[in-house]
Amino acid sequence: MNFTTLVFIILSLLTVVSAVMMIASKSPVHSVLWLIVVFFTISGHYIMLNAQFLAIVNIIVYAGAIMVLFLFVVMLMNLNADSEPIKNYRIQLIGIISGGVLLLILLSSVMSIDKSQLVEMKVGDEGLIKSLGMNLFKNYLLPFEISSVLFLSAMIGAVVIGKKEDEAENKKVN
């Protein structure tokens, strides 16, 4: 077993265990923190695959921005383990069993394929900022510009949805 395999196994175990802890922990704040651990380990996988740009973007966008937003909302609502909805153990058991069976079937079908290919580790230029930037601004310029419109509409939508409506409605009634 070489060093790359060892790092892959450790990172994978860390990822899966953190993901399980994320859905198993009672307090929503703990769930958010475990999900941040998952994102950091996935960034570790990206670095091992030499996708450096995506590793950095994953940390900045997901672990940095999105999870802070989640944490902010959780703390704004003052959610903790006490305010957790009452559990239905029968539904939980059914969910875990069906998910486990799905995982078993998919894994066994994938593993039974005889052909397999290797993944390029630690080398290769296609994940670097230079080649990704050339591709993004050469071949994918239109989707890139459209995504800015998407962000603008998402921002306006969030503001409109999250706005308090009480005062405006009262004025209309009066």
């Binding site: 899966v16 994320m22 859905i23 998952v38 909805p85 993944v119 290769g124 994940g127 990704l132 995504s147």
Partner: protein
């Protein structure tokens, strides 16, 4: 590293996300499980792009192999936009019914 190892890891993460959506009733946790599933797909796309990078087609031009990573970039963009709107909806739901239990959302009016 074999591609099957990455497929197994991504599958495990995706199924954990599915189980989380099935068993949890807190709307925020369900939303986070969707993020986890998106990340599993991202990881698989990057692994496939690095698998494709070894093929002779991709050796000729760098753009072929980095296409998958551009897709991952756009998935992150859409996920970020989706999170803002989704969290705004959850905040509004909390303001109206004072809970984040998704079972309280089983009626359309009142």
């Amino acid at each position: 590293m074999d591609i099957k190892a990455y497929i197994a890891l991504s599958l495990s993460l995706f199924i954990i996300g599915i189980i989380g959506v099935l068993i949890r009733r807190n709307a925020i946790i369900i939303f986070m499980c969707i993020e986890l599933m998106l990340n599993a797909v991202n990881l698989l796309l990057v692994a496939f792009s690095k698998m494709h990078a070894l093929s002779p087609v991709a050796k000729a031009s760098l753009d072929y192999a980095s296409d998958a990573q551009i897709f991952v970039f756009f998935i992150m963009v859409v996920a970020a936009a989706e999170v803002t709107v989704g969290l705004a909806i959850i905040v509004m739901m909390y303001r109206n019914v004072h809970t984040v239990d998704v079972n309280f959302l089983n009626r359309l009016k009142n």
